[in-house]
């Protein structure tokens, strides 16, 4: 079963990919997933302040600056995982180093 873990942030202390790669607990979490062959991709996004939003109205492209919705917390990164069931996905999410500070949303893939 595949799930997307959406790891949130509020921008109080932004970390670059290089900074994250230097955090031992984050590295250990990623290595554990890789060793169990559960990761199906991971991406870190730049903050919503750097987002553009596009809408098409009457065939016309409307591009605006910023995210489509302003929220206090936003998705900073995603981890795509494949594991046995929801309990396993919950265990993986709660072991993430950010779980003590920010919520992590778990979304099952639409499989049938």
């Amino acid at each position: 079963m595949r799930y997307m873990l959406m790891i949130c942030d509020d921008g109080a202390k932004l970390e670059s990919p290089a900074e994250l790669d230097a955090k031992p607990d984050h590295v250990a979490w990623m290595r554990d997933l890789d060793e169990r062959d559960m990761s199906r991709g991971r991406y870190l996004m730049r903050p919503p302040a750097e987002a553009k939003t596009v809408r098409v109205r009457d065939g016309k492209e409307l591009v605006s600056d910023g995210p489509f919705a302003e929220t206090k917390e936003w998705v900073a990164g995603v981890e795509l995982i494949e594991c046995a069931d929801l309990d396993e996905a919950i265990a993986i999410a709660s072991a993430h180093e950010a779980a003590g500070r920010y919520p992590i949303e778990i979304r099952p893939y639409w499989e049938d």
Binding site: A84, D85, L86, D87, P108, E111
Partner: protein, 396 residues
């Protein structure tokens, strides 16, 4: 005969559904085939007699029904592989179906499901209450309840909520989730006896399946003590009767004795928890021949133990009441001061203070506290009670 079938329905429904879910992985199919198995029982048992093992008969009948339907669907879609799981030899040994109800309870009470869905799904799958019956018990329209059940089952399937007893690392937390649902069911049913009975029946099943989980036994004992007072809790006009004024000769002694046996066995395991402690407090009340015989020092001690496990201002308030009963109202009054900020707006705080002041003979202060409580009281029954107390003060 209908009695035998009704008895089998109550005793076997949950077990048959639980087995069918394990075999087919399909919750709707499991419910429908179990329903059909009972319909067949209704048609055959009156002529053929009740089988030696009604549960095995029902499970086999339901399983064969499911097998037929899966076979037909597989023939249509050419997916014969689906048959492999349900047709396995393990599944067809007629007399030895393992009890899957514990898995079913944990899945129904999974924290990823909303609480109200956990409650509804537990009732539907484990007790066989129908959707209209559950809707009536919770005072919601039937389509709302039906949708709640459909959504919950869909979520279990789509998010793949596992069908199993959780591993040891998750077990304590998940068990307290199951106990919470059962206790909610019991309390919700305070005025609906069929829910109370189902809650007790399910808790008995849980205790039989988890005999080494003393909190499950603690919850069962607590329910038995509460239920022993069922008939004395309200007066003829429907008003609440306080514990002190209830007719103790009408308390159900059989339930009390069973509660004590269950609680003692739980406490012997040496892992007290909130339900065991609440049950122990309820036991103090249940075993006191008159209100004045109540062992208040022990109750105060039990509340203290509860506070150590789970600090809460409401429990502190209860402890203050017990201390006042054990050592006098001025001792209790001293404990209330520290609660003022933590229980702002909670009517039982001024009501309790009023009671202590009344017993100390400080009548004007008591009257003022009763009036404060009266303004905050949320129900008519409580307002009537407080008004009565206030008028007794005036006439004293």
């Amino acid at each position: 005969m209908t009695e035998a079938i009704e008895e089998a329905f109550r005793a076997e429904w949950g077990r048959v559904v639980a087995t069918l879910i394990r075999l087919t992985g399909d919750w709707d199919l499991a419910e429908e085939c179990t329903q059909e198995a009972f319909a067949r029982a209704m048609a055959h048992w009156p002529q053929d007699g009740v089988p030696r093992r009604p549960g095995a008969w029902l499970t086999t009948t339901a399983r064969n029904r499911a097998l037929d339907r899966i076979r037909r669907a597989a023939a249509e879609t050419n997916r014969l592989a689906d048959l492999a799981t349900i047709g396995s030899p393990e599944a067809s040994t007629e007399d030895s179906f393992p009890d899957d109800r514990l898995k079913l309870m944990f899945t129904c009470c999974h924290p990823a499901l909303p609480l109200e869905a956990q409650v509804a799904l537990t009732l539907r799958t484990l007790t066989g209450m129908t959707t209209p019956e559950i809707a009536r018990a919770f005072l919601v329209p039937e389509p709302t309840m039906a949708q709640r059940l459909v959504r919950a089952k869909r979520k279990i399937h789509n998010a793949r909520i596992p069908y199993r007893v959780p591993p040891p690392s998750l077990l304590p937390e998940r068990t307290s989730g199951v106990l919470g649902v059962l206790y909610l069911l019991f309390n919700q049913g305070y005025s609906n006896y069929s829910l109370v009975d189902e809650a007790i029946r399910l808790t008995r099943v849980l205790v039989s399946l988890m005999p080494h989980t003393p909190e499950a036994s603690g919850l069962l004992a607590l329910m038995l003590f509460h239920n022993s007072r069922r008939d004395t809790r309200l007066d003829a006009s429907g008003d609440l009767v306080t514990l002190e004024d209830q007719d103790r000769s009408r308390w159900d002694q059989e339930l009390i004795e069973e509660g004590i046996a269950v609680l003692d066995a739980a406490l012997e395991q040496g892992h007290p928890g909130p339900y065991q402690l609440q049950a122990a407090i309820a036991a103090c009340h249940a075993t006191a021949p008159t209100a004045s015989d109540t062992d208040w020092p022990r109750i105060a001690m039990l509340y203290e133990a509860m506070l150590r496990l789970n600090p809460s201002p409401v429990i502190e308030l209860n402890r203050a009441v017990a201390v006042a009963m054990a050592s006098g109202p001025s001792e209790g009054l001293a404990l209330l001061d520290s609660l003022q900020d933590k229980l702002t707006g909670y009517h039982l705080l001024p009501a309790t203070r009023a009671d202590f002041l009344r017993r100390l003979g400080r009548i004007p202060e008591a009257a003022e506290a009763y009036r404060e409580a009266l303004e905050l009281a949320p129900t008519d029954a409580e307002r009537r009670f407080l008004t009565r107390r206030l008028s007794e003060l005036d006439s004293a």
